[in-house]
């Protein structure tokens, strides 16, 4: 052992199959509530923390993603299996705590046995003992410890029962003397032979028979009766312990019914999406008003100087444009988290697998695609759970077409322009149409790309769908809420700085070089002078120069350089479009950002033609553009990282953006032709 590792804390890694209660145990040990989700394989990221000080053990704790066996089957699993032996950051673990769900003990012992045979130092934590007890059985932990040759402790991650006992078992294992003797674990299970696997399972089944015992207690007669019933229902089963959770089977009769399953599915999805918009709306208005107010006050405090302008237009409005859709992201993560935690999302994936497989996707693409409606970045990361490379790449490919929440401020603004303010329902319907077209668009694109699969995706692979449907559980609201906040925070960290920097860059481009132009102030009020200075400054700014370069591209769409500049800015991040319009049309001194932009938009005149700039055709054309265009730098970066090269992100930019331009062109000219 090297000297440096003596200074380092001991490392304990939690390992277990998906849904084995691993993360719940992690939360108990770390005291920090982290992700506990039901969708198999969804803990892609590692969680780490120290063991709570009250337990008196000074060690690092690592929560690894769920794996089924040491023979990896997806990129996700490969990472987690490899980092078990040697984590790039934390090194090799001194001790593994392996979670085993006793209600499906034979399946979960497979990983456990493999870990022991590989030479890891392990302790087994038995979970879900209450579910097994409901069936009238329990595990004899002493016998199991004897069979496995390692410590076996029953724990209840929800109440924390058994944690103390687990830790008294952990302590002696962390003595430095003991650690020095640890053999190095070896990879012996990659590409394991069928024969070896079957022998392993035979051994496990023998152990299972030995350690599962009927509960004998006061409720003895009751349980015996229940058990008798099971045997009657199930005469060939030796063990009632091997039936799935009865309540789950009952719920599935409805939710997975062949007649109503899809109806429930679409109902749940529609409720999810409508509630995102309905619930988030008032909060978004609040954020919007707050930043409008801050911006106005800042301008008032600092007067008409360049730095006042920077603070009010650049920094405050920029921050506001990041935070305005925070409520939405929070609510989407909240609902997704709830669906995940109850166990429904895995069923959603199953229900939708067949239609998705027709366009070259997989049922497992469903959750990443759904997350894409919040933000493409976590969605692309979530695609790691798809084991098939071709399906994974195709899923990543079409995720940017999902209407992410960054597009919502843009749609909201554009739709508000089209619909009268007092008709909220009409705006809602218009938004639904936009979302439906984005879904339809992505289906068509996926089908198209699937057809030219070899040329675009460049990977052939056999498709598969094997997914555990976890038992239904009441979601742990506290965990879901914390998890949503965690996700929202990450989103702000990731997207926030880019958006802020770009807002300032756009401010710079629109403010310089002619920052204090000379204007004829004769006979004008103070306010009119300010407006005139602003207009003059802008039309001689760097942004104007840049915009005039792209004017030829914008003219066929009936748009001028000002929209062009905003669209360029939107390539950094879509929501910048709104703040950029606000800046270009110099909206600062109003209480409400959106209504003042709308006001400015209605007045705006196309500098080339002299006609109104924003008309029904140009607005609809812009919406169409935003449905298809690949406009987010962070998405491009993540897409490059996750697909392992520039090929896919560049194709995404070219295909989606040219589609966006062409469709927008067709829409604008068609609408004009029919007389709008």
């Amino acid at each position: 052992m090297s000297t440096t590792s003596n200074e380092k804390l001991h490392l304990i890694t939690l390992v277990g199959p998906p849904n084995s209660g691993k993360t719940t145990l992690f939360n108990q040990l770390s005291g920090k509530n982290f992700k506990t989700v039901n969708y198999p394989g969804s803990t892609v990221e590692y969680s780490t923390s120290k063991i709570q000080s009250k337990f008196g053990i000074d060690a690092d704790l690592l929560d690894s993603p769920g794996i089924i066996s040491l023979n990896p089957n997806s990129p996700d699993e490969e990472i987690s299996v490899n980092s078990l032996y040697n984590h790039p950051e934390f090194g090799s673990p001194h001790l593994l705590i392996t979670t085993v769900d006793v209600s499906q003990i034979s399946r979960h012992l497979l990983l456990c046995k493999q870990l022991i045979e590989s030479g890891f130092n392990i302790i087994v934590a038995l979970t879900m003992n209450d579910i097994l007890a409901k069936k009238g059985f329990e595990v004899d932990e002493n016998k199991l410890a004897e069979e496995l040759g390692c410590g076996v402790i029953k724990v209840d991650g929800r109440t924390g029962r058994g944690i103390d006992k687990l830790l008294t078992c952990v302590k002696p294992k962390l003595n430095d003397d003991v650690i020095d003797e640890i053999k190095v674990a070896h990879k012996i299970f990659e590409n394991i032979s069928k024969e070896k696997l079957l022998n392993l399972y035979k051994e496990i089944e023998r152990i299972e028979k030995n350690v599962i015992v009927e509960i004998r207690n006061n409720n003895f007669s009751n349980l015996l009766q229940a058990n008798e019933k099971l045997k009657i229902l199930n005469p060939t089963l030796k063990y009632g312990s091997n039936r799935p959770d009865a309540r789950t089977l009952k719920i599935d009769k409805y939710l997975l019914s062949r007649r109503w399953g899809l109806v429930f599915f679409f109902l749940i999805m529609s409720v999810t999406f409508t509630s995102i918009f309905w619930i988030a709306n008032p909060f978004m208005d609040l954020v919007d008003k707050l930043f409008g107010y801050l911006s106005t006050s800042a301008a008032g405090i600092f007067g008409y100087t360049w730095y006042s302008n920077l603070i009010a237009d650049g920094i405050i409005s920029g921050t506001g444009s990041v935070l305005v859709f925070l409520p939405q992201i929070l609510i989407l993560f909240l609902i997704l988290g709830l669906l995940e935690d109850t166990g429904y999302l895995a069923r959603g994936a199953m229900l939708i697998d067949k239609p998705l497989s027709k366009i070259g996707l997989n049922g497992k693409s469903f959750v990443p695609m759904l997350s894409g409606f919040a933000c493409a970045i976590p969605a692309i990361l979530a695609a790691r759970t798809i084991s098939n490379r071709r399906e994974r790449l195709l899923t990543i490919f079409i995720i940017p077409l999902m209407s992410c929440s960054a597009r919502l401020p843009v749609y909201t603004l554009l739709i508000a322009f089209l619909t009268p303010a007092d008709k909220a329902l009409l705006a809602g319907i218009a938004l639904a149409v936009v979302y439906l077209s984005s879904i339809l668009g992505s289906i068509v694109v996926a089908a198209f790309i699937n057809k030219f699969n070899k040329k675009i995706i460049n990977a052939v692979d056999s498709s598969s769908f094997i997914l555990e449907l976890p038992a239904y559980r009441v979601p742990k609201i506290k965990n879901v809420i914390r998890n949503s906040f965690e996700n929202a925070k990450q989103y702000i960290y990731r997207a926030g700085p880019i958006i802020l920097v770009l807002s300032i860059a756009i401010w710079f481009l629109t403010y310089f070089p002619n920052h204090s132009p000379e204007v004829n102030t004769k006979g004008l009020s103070q306010k009119e002078v300010v407006q005139l200075i602003k207009a003059e400054r802008l039309s001689t700014s760097y942004a104007a120069d840049l915009g005039k370069v792209i004017q030829p591209v914008m003219s066929p769409l009936g748009m001028d350089w000002r929209i062009g500049v905003s669209l360029i800015a939107a390539f950094a991040a879509r929501e910048v479009f709104v703040s950029s319009l606000a800046m270009i049309f110099k909206v600062t001194d109003e209480d409400n950002l959106q209504s003042s932009i709308l006001f400015a938009m209605k007045d705006a005149v196309n500098e080339e033609t002299g006609k109104p700039l924003f008309t029904v055709p140009t607005i609809v054309g812009l919406i169409v553009f935003f449905i298809f265009a690949m406009q987010c730098l962070s998405t491009v970066a993540v897409s490059k990282k996750e697909t392992g090269g520039w090929r896919i992100p560049i194709l995404q930019i070219i295909i989606f953006t040219s589609t966006a331009y062409i469709f927008s062109l067709i829409t604008v000219n068609f609408l004009r032709f029919v007389g709008f």
Partner: protein, 73 residues
């Protein structure tokens, strides 16, 4: 030779073998579809594919063509 994809709803059967030539055979074995195990077809999606089997105390959804390589006794 009957395979798992030919089961009726609620019908139980014992697995006799898993077809080695299928690309997912190892994952099927690892997840618990091993010879000697009893499975029951519990549910399916509205499109009759994938199928959900009860196995070793839990529910596993697999596609029909995967169920096809699970041979029953």
């Amino acid at each position: 030779m009957k395979t798992a994809s030919e089961l009726n709803f609620g019908e139980r059967a014992i697995i006799s073998d898993v077809d080695n030539s299928h690309p997912s055979f190892r994952r099927l074995l690892e997840i618990g579809f091993t010879p000697g195990q009893e499975i029951e077809l519990v549910n399916s999606s509205a499109f009759n594919d994938p199928l959900a089997f009860s196995l070793r105390g839990t529910l596993i959804a697999i596609r029909k063509h995967e169920a096809d390589c699970i041979i029953l006794t």
